[in-house]
Amino acid sequence: MAAHRCSCWSWLLILFSLSVFVVADIHETTPVNDHHGGVDHNAQTAEQTADQPAVEERRWEATEVKEAATVDAAADIQGTSAPETVVPSSVPQPKDDFQEELVIRPLHSGDIYASFQFRTLWDTDFMRENKVSHYRLFPKSLGQVISKFSVRELHISFTQGYWRTMQWGQPFIPSPPGAELWVWFQDSVTDVDATWKELTNVLSGIFCASLNFIDSTNTVQPSASFKPLGLGNVTDHSFLRYATLPREIVCTENLTPWKKLLPCGSKAGLAVLLKSEKLFHSSFHSQAVHIRSVCQDWQCKTTSWELRQTLNSVFDLHNSGQTKREWSLFKMFSRTLTEACPLASSSKLYIDITDNPQGEQFELSPATSLLSQAVVLGDRRTFSVYDLTQETTFGTVRSLNLLIRWKSNEGEMLRPLLHAERYVAGYGLQTGEIHTLMYNNHPYRSFPVLLLDSVPWYLRLYIHTLSVTSKGKDNKPSYIHYEPSKDRVKPHLLEMLIQLPPNSVTEVTVQFERALLKWTEYPPDPNHGFYVGSSVISSLVPSTVAMHTNSTRERPLFSSFFPCKEESSYFVRIYTEPLLVNLPTPDFSMPYNVICLTCTVVAVGYGSLYNLLTRSFQIEEPNPGLAKRIANVIRRMRGVPPL
C-alpha cells in the first residue's frame, strides 16, 4: 500500500515538473513565434500528457477536451481579430480543416459494408521557396514527402481480398487486391524515375509495406487511364508512374502507421473503431491515402491540399459466426462511439437506407430523424445521418452503438451497370491466353471504357493475337496504346478504348508465352505461381440522375472523391481479379550438377577435336608386356643381354 502511494506521488511529481517545463517553454517561445505556434505547443502538450502512461483515463480525456477547447478558442480569435500580444507575421495563416465520416451500407447478402473517410484540407503551398515547417492537422511525414519529391498527386492503397462488384455493388473508392501506388509529379522534376524510386522507398518506410519492391519491372506510365483527380489538366504522362504489387499482404503493421497519420490518432472520433483484430477478420479490407490539390471555391482562385484517408471493409455475416441477421457497431468493431474527434469540423455517421424507405427491410436503433440525400455513383441515395458533434446523438448512455436488425431476406440489389472479370485459359506451362470479360448491363446505352493491362515481362504477350469481341462480332478498339516488355527491365502495357454495346459482354483475349527464368529469379515458393496485377477499367457510365458538377459545394465525403465534369455520366473505376500464373521451373537443387554436366559436354567436344587436331596417325609398335619388362630389368642387373 505504501509502495502504491509512493508511486502515485512520484507520478504527480513528474506531471508537475512537466507542466512547469511546458509553461516555461511557452513563455520562452511566445514572443518569438506567432500566436499559432503557441497554440500548437498547447496541442503538443496535450499529446505529451496523453502519452504519459498510468494517468487515469477519464482525467486524460478531460485534459484533452480542455486543450481542444483552447485550440478552438484560439482559432476563433484568429478568425475575428488578432490579439494584441501576437506579432503580426508576413506569412498568411494556413487554414486547415479536418472532417471524418463513416458510411455503413447493409448489403443484401446480409454482409455489411463500412467505409471510413477522413479528410484534411490545408491551404498551404508545399512547393514554395521556404519549406513548410509548421504542421498542425496535416501529417508532417506526408507533407515532407510532398515537398521533397515534388508530388502533384499521390494515391496509395493496400487491399486484402477482392471486391465482389456483382454482390456488393460499386465501392465508394475502388482499389485492386494488394498494393497500388500511382503518383503524378510536378513538371519541375527532371529525373522522374530516380524520384519515383526514392519515393517508393520512403513510402515503404512510412507504411511498413514492401513498396520497395516497386522497380522498373512493375512500373508503367499509363497514357489515358489515370488522369489527375485533383487540380491541373496535365496531359504529359511522363510525369505519371503507376505500379501495383498484387502479392502484397495487408495486415496490422500497415494499419498502425496509417492510423498515426490521423489528427486524433486512434484515440478519439471514428478512428476508435479501427481495431485490427476485427478489421482483418473481414472478407474485404482496403485502406488508402489520397493526396491531391483541390479548389477551395467554385472559381478556383485559391487551392488547397487535400489528404483523404479511406478505409473500406466488408464484414461477412457467416464468417463472424452469428446466427441472426443483425449487426451493431460493437459486433463489427468491438467498440462503440462515444465522441467525435475534437479536432474535426464535422464528424458524421451515414447509414444507407435507400432500399429501406419504410423500414421494411431492416430496423435501425437508435432511430434518427436526420435524413440526407446524396447523388453517388449515378444514383440518388438516402442516408440516415448521425452527427457525432451533437451531444444528443450519444443519448443518455453517452455512447452510440448503432444496431441494424434485418426483418426480411427479400430484396433485389440494383445490378451494377459495369463489371468485369478475368481469367487465364489454356493448359500446360508453355502458352496461355488471358480472357477479360466486361459486362455492360445498361439496357439501351453504350459507353466507352478504357482498359489498362500491365503484364509482367515473363508472360510474353503476343499483341497480334489480341481480339476484342462483343455479341459475337469483332469490336475494334478505337485507341490502342501498347508498350512491349523488355526482359528484366519493363512490363507490357496495354491500354485500349473500347465501346461497350448496350446489354452485352465484351471479351478481350490475348495469348502469351511463359518464360523460363533464371533460378535466382523465382520466389521461394515458385510453384505457387506468379501474380499478374488487376486490369483497370475506367469509364464514364451514363447516370440515371443528374450529377453535381460543382466540386466545391459542401457534400458528404463519399460522394465527392471523383470529380464530375458533366451531369449525365459519372466516373467509375473497377479492377478485375489478379491472375495467378504458373511458370515452368528449373530444378533448384542442381545448379552444380548442371554446370558440371554441361561443361563436360563442351569438354567432350573440345577434347575430341583437340585430339584430332594436334595428333597425327602413326603405326602402333607393339609394347612389351609387363612381365617381359620386369624380366629385362632383372637381366640387366645380372648383366645378361635383355630378351
Partner: protein
C-alpha cells in the same frame, strides 16, 4: 537423273503442303526444338503487328529478326496472301537443295585434277580410296534427299521458321564460293553474318578455297596471300557496312543492334531448345554468368583457327566442320541448323569405311529426336517429369552430334593418311599394322 530428281521434288513439296494444311502445322510451329526465339514465325508476325501499331519492333523483347527481314515480310504480306508465304518457304527449301547438288559435284572435279597431276606420288593400293565417277553419280540426288526429306527440314519448313531463310543464304554462299565468284561469295556470307553472327567463321574456308582455286599459296610471307585476304575482307566488310547502314536508314535508329546481336550473344531468353545454353544459364550463379557466357561464345568461334590450319588443303570439309560446330554450340540452335550440316553427309560417303561408331551415334540421334517431344510433354503438360529430363535429352543429343562430327573428322584425316601412305600398312616386322593417334 532428272526424273528421280523431279519425283523427289514433287514428294517433298507434297509432304510439306499436306502437313501445312493439316492441324499439325500449328502444333509444329510451337515446338521449341523447331523454332527458337530468333527464328519463330509467330514472333515475325508479332513484329509486323508492332510495326502496324506504330511501335518499334525492337522496343520490346519479342522480336529479334534483322530489320531487312521484317521490311521484306512487311512488303510481302502487304502484296500477297499469307498462303503465298508458305510457297516462299517451300521454294527456298528447293533452291537450297539445288545448290547442294551443284556443290556436291564441284570438289571432286577439283580433286580429280589434282590426282591426275600427282598420281605418281600416291601408292597404288590407295587407288581403292578414290571414288569413281559412277559412285559419285548419285551423290547429288542423295544430298537432295538428305535435305528435302529430312524430317528436321520438313518440320522447320512447316513451322515457317526463318531458319530456312538463313540456310538459303548460306547455300547461296556455298554455291557462289564453289563457282568461284568472289564478290557474290562475300556478299552472301555477309548476309548470313548479318542474319546471325556465327557464319563469320566461314570467312576462313571461303578464303582458303579461293586461294586454292587461284593457286595462291597459303604462306604468310607472300604478298599475294595478304593481298587476297585484304581484297576479300574489303568486299565482306564493305557489304556488311552497307547492310548495317541500310538497316539503320530503314529503321531510323540503332535499336536493332542490341536487340538482334546483343540477344544472340548475351542469351537473355532461356526458353528451352536443343542447345546447351538455356539450362546452363538458367542454373548459373549470377556472378559467374558473364565469365561462362564469354567462354561459351568464344568456344563457338575459337575452333576456326586450328581447323583452318589443319584443313587448309580441304576447304569444303572445313565448311562442313564449321557448320557443325556452329549448330552444336550456338546460343539458340534449332533442328533446321542441324539439317543443314546433315545434308553434307552423303558428300562424305567415301569416308564410311573409316567411321567407328556411326551406328551408335545414329541410334542415339534418332532416339533423342523421338524423346524430345515425349519428355517435353511430361515436363510441361503432364507435370510428371521436371526440367532435368528434357535437359538430359539435350545433353545426349549434343554428345551424339559431337561424336558424329568428330567421327567424320577422324575418318577424313585417316583417309588422307591412307592416301599418302597406302591403304594396307605393315609394321616393321611385316605383320598387319594398326593406326593410332599420337
Amino acid at each position: 537423273m532428272a526424273a528421280p530428281l523431279t519425283l523427289l521434288l514433287i514428294v517433298a513439296v507434297t509432304i510439306r503442303a499436306a502437313l501445312f494444311r493439316s492441324s499439325l502445322a500449328e502444333l509444329i510451329a510451337e515446338r521449341v526444338e523447331v523454332v527458337s526465339p530468333i527464328t519463330a514465325w509467330k514472333r515475325v508476325v508479332e513484329g509486323l503487328a508492332l510495326l502496324d501499331l506504330g511501335v518499334s519492333p525492337y522496343s520490346g523483347d519479342v522480336f529479334h529478326e534483322t530489320p531487312l527481314i521484317i521490311y521484306m515480310f512487311h512488303f510481302l504480306v502487304d502484296y500477297a496472301e499469307i498462303t503465298f508465304m508458305t510457297f516462299v518457304f517451300g521454294a527456298l527449301c528447293v533452291c537450297i537443295c539445288f545448290f547442294f547438288i551443284y556443290l556436291s559435284l564441284m570438289p571432286f572435279q577439283f580433286r580429280k585434277q589434282k590426282f591426275a597431276l600427282e598420281a605418281d606420288r600416291y601408292p597404288m593400293d590407295s587407288l581403292e580410296l578414290i571414288r569413281s565417277p559412277k559412285e559419285m553419280y548419285y551423290v547429288p540426288l542423295k544430298v537432295a534427299m538428305f535435305y528435302l526429306l529430312n524430317p528436321f527440314t520438313i518440320l522447320s519448313c512447316v513451322a515457317k521458321s526463318t531458319c530456312g531463310l538463313n540456310n538459303a543464304v548460306l547455300a547461296l554462299f556455298f554455291l557462289s564460293t564453289i563457282k568461284g565468284n568472289v564478290l557474290l561469295s562475300a556478299i552472301f556470307l555477309c548476309l548470313a553474318t548479318y542474319q546471325s553472327i556465327y557464319p563469320i567463321t566461314l570467312c576462313a574456308p571461303a578464303m582458303l578455297y579461293f586461294m586454292q582455286r587461284q593457286y595462291i599459296p597459303v604462306n604468310f610471307r607472300r604478298v599475294s596471300f595478304w593481298w587476297f585476304i585484304v581484297q576479300y575482307l574489303f568486299m565482306y566488310l564493305g557489304s556488311l557496312f552497307v547492310l548495317i547502314c541500310l538497316s539503320f536508314f530503314l529503321l531510323g535508329s540503332w535499336d536493332y543492334l542490341p536487340s538482334v546481336y546483343g540477344f544472340i550473344l548475351s542469351v537473355p531468353d532461356l526458353t528451352p531448345n536443343i542447345g546447351l545454353f538455356w539450362y546452363f544459364f538458367a542454373e548459373m550463379f549470377e556472378h559467374f554468368r558473364l565469365f561462362f557466357l564469354c567462354v561459351f561464345q568464344i568456344n563457338v568461334f575459337f575452333y576456326t583457327i586450328p581447323l583452318s590450319i589443319k584443313l587448309k588443303e580441304h576447304p569444303v570439309f572445313l565448311i562442313f566442320m564449321q557448320l557443325a560446330v556452329i549448330s552444336i554450340f550456338k546460343s539458340y540452335p534449332t533442328v533446321g541448323d542441324v539439317a543443314l550440316y546433315l545434308a553434307f553427309l552423303p558428300v562424305w560417303s567415301h569416308l564410311h569405311r573409316f567411321l567407328r561408331n556411326i551406328f551408335l551415334v545414329s541410334c542415339v540421334l534418332l532416339a533423342c529426336s523421338a524423346l524430345f517431344p515425349v519428355l517435353w510433354h511430361l515436363w510441361i503438360y503432364a507435370g510428371s517429369a521436371n526440367s532435368n529430363f528434357y535437359y538430359a535429352i539435350t545433353l545426349l543429343f549434343n554428345v551424339a552430334q559431337i561424336l558424329l562430327v568428330s567421327d567424320y573428322f577422324y575418318a577424313f584425316l585417316r583417309r588422307e593418311h591412307h592416301l599418302t601412305n597406302g591403304l594396307y600398312l605393315k609394321r616393321k616386322d611385316g605383320s598387319e599394322a594398326t593406326l593410332i593417334l599420337k
